[in-house]
Structures are given as structure tokens and as C-alpha cells.
């Protein structure tokens, strides 16, 4: 008998209204409807969330871990990209 694995889904949960969905894990499920259902059962048992996204893991386009040097290292010495060199008037000090 052929044994097929159910596809993998990445699960994102928004813990409260107004916050972002955060990646919290993954589940196996045959289709989107059941992926949502099992994500609810596996990841929201302790009131972790008010909204769930599931995304087929194979639909996520990820950067190549081997490309880290050329993708991310060049940003290391470009501190001028952080907006920390402006003098703010006292009135807006809490920005």
C-alpha cells in the first residue's frame, strides 16, 4: 500500500487583537480546512490566540541559509541606516 504523508502547514497565531500573527509551529493535515482545525486543537488549548493563519510549508519561499554572508552581513556596518542621528526637540522626546 502506498503511504502518503499529509502535507506540512506552518501555523501563525495572533495572541491578541492588534498584535501580529506570530509563527508558533507546524501541523500535518490533508487540506486547508483541516489544517486550521488541527492548528486550533494543537496550538490554542491554553488561550494562546484569537486568530490563526495556516500556510502550506511548501508555499513559503525562504532565503538560502548558505547565502547569509551576501544577504545580511553587508548591513552590519551601515549604522547610518538607523535613524539615531537626528536631534529631536524636547517636546517629542518620547518618540
Amino acid at each position: 500500500m502506498e503511504r502518503k504523508e499529509w502535507p506540512l502547514w506552518e501555523v501563525f497565531i495572533r495572541s491578541r487583537n492588534g498584535l501580529d500573527h506570530k509563527h508558533c509551529g507546524s501541523v500535518h493535515a490533508p487540506d486547508p480546512r483541516m489544517a486550521l482545525q488541527v492548528a486550533r486543537d494543537v496550538y490554542t488549548r491554553r488561550m494562546e490566540g484569537v486568530s490563526i493563519w495556516v500556510v502550506k510549508a511548501s508555499d513559503i519561499v525562504a532565503s538560502d541559509p548558505d547565502a547569509k554572508p551576501e544577504l545580511f552581513d553587508p548591513a552590519e556596518d551601515k549604522i547610518y541606516r538607523h535613524p539615531t542621528f537626528y536631534k529631536l526637540p524636547d517636546e517629542v522626546n518620547h518618540m
Binding site: W6, H28, P30, R33, M34, Q37, V38, D41, V42, R45
Partner: protein, 252 residues
């Protein structure tokens, strides 16, 4: 006016359903076909046991004999349980488990909806909370019934075998209980036969979509809600009660 005993018995019927099916579903813990479903079944078992705790506590208070939820759950003998026979039948396989969950949770959804308007305020509050849980159970089980029934040849066969086995026991859901008449008249809860038409209207379309054949009604009757249980009940109780019987009063 319903007597204390009649009122207590009515609440016990509802609480024992949740307790006994919760116990059955908990048998899947660590054995379900996939991890995700293992968690789902355990969640539902815990939902049901949570409902049972509230209802048995309430029944104990109505009874007024000083029995709490633990004494009612663990120290009664078989003939004093008032659950439907449907709830105590063995799980057998995943198909029977989800078909039973679908048949039962559809019943619970209707019952909780009616009970949320109960003149018994405590019962109404329990019903309003439990209705949300039952709706999820119904959706979860209904999805599986369609998947398995309208799935492979083997999953269809198992689902049909499960439905054929369980269906005769569903007659008991709607069998009148004469001792509940005054409870119904007092507005505490619905008469059992009054739920049947709505139940069939919810259940049959899903079974049709699952390409399952709905069996014809037969004269078969079961009597769990009157305390006359199947041969499976004793084994279930032995497992469920052993801790409390071995270590009376044990708590954690």
C-alpha cells in the same frame, strides 16, 4: 412542580452522557492515528469531562444528600448511571468514534441550545458555556464523517459499518422518560422526543453528503438513561472508578 429527585435525575442524564463519553474518548489518548487528532480527541474528552463536573456538582446540590462531583462520578454503581447507551459503547475504530461523536454532538448542540433558556439558572449557564464546545465537536466530527464516508473504499466501508452499529442506539436519545414530565412542565428542560426532528434535519444531510446509507428504524430499544446498561458499561466503570475505589477520597 418537579420533585427534587426528578430534577436531579434529569440533570444526571445530561451529566452522565458527558462523563461516560468523555471517559470513552480519553481512551484514544496516545493511540489516535495522528498526533493532531490525538490532541483533538483529548481536548474533546476534557470538554466533556468539564461539562460533567459542572453538571454532577449541580446534581449533587439539587439532591441535597451531601454528594459532590467525585462521589457521583466514581462511587455510584452501574444501575445508578443515567447516560445514554450510545455513550458507553466501545470506540472500536476511528470511524465509529467520529460517527458516534457526530451523532451525539449534534444531539448535544440542540439540547444545550434549548437548555440555555432553562428556568434552572445554573443549568442555563452551564448550557450556554457548553454549547460553544458542542458546536466545535459537531463540526470536527461532521468533517470527519464526510471525509471517511466519501473517502476510500475502506474508509467508506468502516463508516457504514459504524453507522449501522450505532444507529439503533440513537432511538434512545428521543425516548420519552415519564419521570421527566414534571421537569419539562416546569421549564427546566426539553422533552426528549421534541429534539428528534431537528436532530434528523442536522444529521441526515451530512450522512448523505458522506454517501452513507441511513439505516431504517427498527424495534430495537436500549435503556441506558433508565439505568439499564449494555455489557460494556461495567468494564468502563471498572477502569474509571478503580483509583477512587482503591484510594477512597484520593485527590490531586
Amino acid at each position: 412542580m418537579a420533585s427534587k429527585q426528578e430534577h436531579t435525575e434529569y440533570v444526571l442524564r445530561i451529566g452522565d452522557n458527558a462523563l461516560i463519553l468523555g471517559q470513552r474518548l480519553s481512551e484514544w489518548c496516545g493511540h489516535a492515528p495522528v498526533l493532531e487528532e490525538d490532541m483533538a480527541l483529548a481536548n474533546m474528552a476534557l470538554d466533556l469531562i468539564g461539562q460533567a463536573r459542572m453538571l454532577l456538582t449541580h446534581a449533587g446540590q439539587l439532591e441535597g444528600a451531601g454528594r459532590d462531583e467525585d462521589q457521583l462520578a466514581f462511587l455510584r454503581t452501574e444501575a445508578h448511571y443515567r447516560n445514554l447507551t450510545l455513550c458507553e459503547l466501545p470506540n472500536e475504530d476511528f470511524a465509529r468514534t467520529v460517527v458516534r461523536n457526530f451523532l451525539f454532538s449534534s444531539f448535544q448542540v440542540l439540547l444545550w441550545a434549548r437548555l440555555s433558556g432553562s428556568t434552572d439558572a445554573e443549568l442555563a449557564a452551564i448550557a450556554a458555556k457548553s454549547l460553544k464546545e458542542a458546536r466545535y465537536h459537531q463540526q470536527h466530527a461532521g468533517d470527519w464523517v464526510i471525509r471517511l464516508g466519501d473517502g476510500t473504499a475502506e474508509s467508506h466501508r468502516r463508516s457504514q459499518v459504524a453507522l449501522d452499529y450505532l444507529w439503533p442506539y440513537t432511538a434512545e436519545l428521543f425516548a420519552p422518560a415519564p419521570s421527566d414530565d414534571k421537569v419539562v412542565a416546569a421549564g427546566i428542560g426539553p422533552a426528549w422526543p421534541s429534539l428528534e426532528a431537528d436532530w434528523e434535519a442536522q444529521v441526515v444531510p451530512v450522512l448523505n453528503e458522506a454517501t452513507l446509507t441511513v439505516p431504517a428504524r427498527t424495534p430495537f430499544k436500549s435503556f441506558g438513561k433508565f439505568g439499564r446498561h449494555s455489557e460494556h458499561m461495567g468494564h468502563l466503570l471498572a477502569t474509571m472508578q478503580i483509583m477512587q475505589r482503591t484510594y477512597p477520597g484520593a485527590r490531586w
